[in-house]
């Protein structure tokens, strides 16, 4: 009975750990999207210089 218990318990622990990992990756992705949105808003607010090159884009 001990082996039976551990078999079912470990299956569900494994599944939940995987789901937890997916949720963590999803949160990291949300943070990344928020950063990208913030960055794109920042570059949209900054007026472009006369040369047409975006300000804050860094040297090339």
């Amino acid at each position: 009975m001990v082996y039976l218990f551990w078999a079912y318990a470990l299956v569900w622990v494994g599944i939940f750990l995987y789901l937890f990992g997916l949720a963590r990756r999803s949160r990291a992705l949300e943070r990344q999207v928020a950063e990208l949105v913030e960055r794109s808003r920042g570059s949209a607010r900054t007026p472009a210089p006369a040369g047409g090159r975006r300000a804050g884009a860094g040297p090339s």
Partner: protein, 223 residues
């Protein structure tokens, strides 16, 4: 998939999973030789079966990627292989927990077990290759080829129990199912439940994979 269909899938999975647990513990008769430990079978076999389906799915996605070059197929392959590795890891764990009291050992170099271990190692290698080889079309091509070649091992696992001297019991033959009716019904519900669970899990993982791909592209464009 529309929202009502998604909730139907979620509820269907939950209900069949509960039925599968009830079937395994209450409905299926106790096996006479092994006793209650045999009930591991009702989770072990569906996981093994869905693991094969997942690897087949990864192989199919690999073929589609090589033919079309569309990155969505790469994401499909990665999602299917990842879930396949999760399920096959659980198959090895539950198999060991079953083997210990029945065969008196956690592991034996039985042909079916060895070919299954090789299958697991191939797809673990596939995931390592994906994580190590950067993010470019070359990686996707290597991964696609790896998934296709890896799938060749699945028929070897299947037939090793039939044609080599394997310890694992052969349940499905061309003539019959070697189970009592209550056992076969419990197994059937388990197969449906884990299949639905695979579809749910795959959809969630694929959505994440596609989003990761898009975010990586946007971040690349943003500098």
């Amino acid at each position: 998939m529309t929202r009502p269909l998604e909730s139907l899938l979620a509820w269907g999975t939950l209900v069949t999973m509960l039925l599968a647990l009830l079937g395994a513990f209450l409905f299926a008769q106790t096996e006479q030789v092994m006793g209650p430990i045999q009930r591991i079978f009702y989770v072990h076999l569906p996981l093994a079966w869905i693991g094969f389906v997942a690897f087949g799915h990864a192989c199919w996605a690999g073929i589609r990627y090589l033919r079309t070059g569309r990155r969505e197929w790469d994401a499909v392959g990665a999602s299917a292989a990842e879930i396949g590795v999760l399920f096959s890891t659980l198959v090895i764990v539950t198999g060991s927990l079953w083997a210990r009291p029945v065969w008196g050992t956690w592991w034996t170099w039985d042909p079916q077990l060895v070919t299954y271990l090789i299958l697991w190692l191939i797809y673990v290698g596939y995931l390592m290759l994906r994580s190590a080889a950067g993010d470019d079309p070359r990686r996707a091509r290597f991964a696609a080829v790896f998934a296709i070649v890896g799938f060749v091992d699945v028929p070897l696992v299947w037939f090793s129990a039939r044609y080599l001297r394997a310890l694992s019991p052969v349940i499905f033959t061309t003539h019959s199912i070697g189970l009592a009716p209550s056992m076969a019904q419990a197994l059937g519900v388990g197969l449906v439940a884990w299949s639905l669970f695979y579809v749910m899990l795959f959809r969630a993982r694929l959505r994440l994979g596609l989003l990761e791909m898009q975010v990586a592209e946007l971040a690349g464009e943003g500098g």
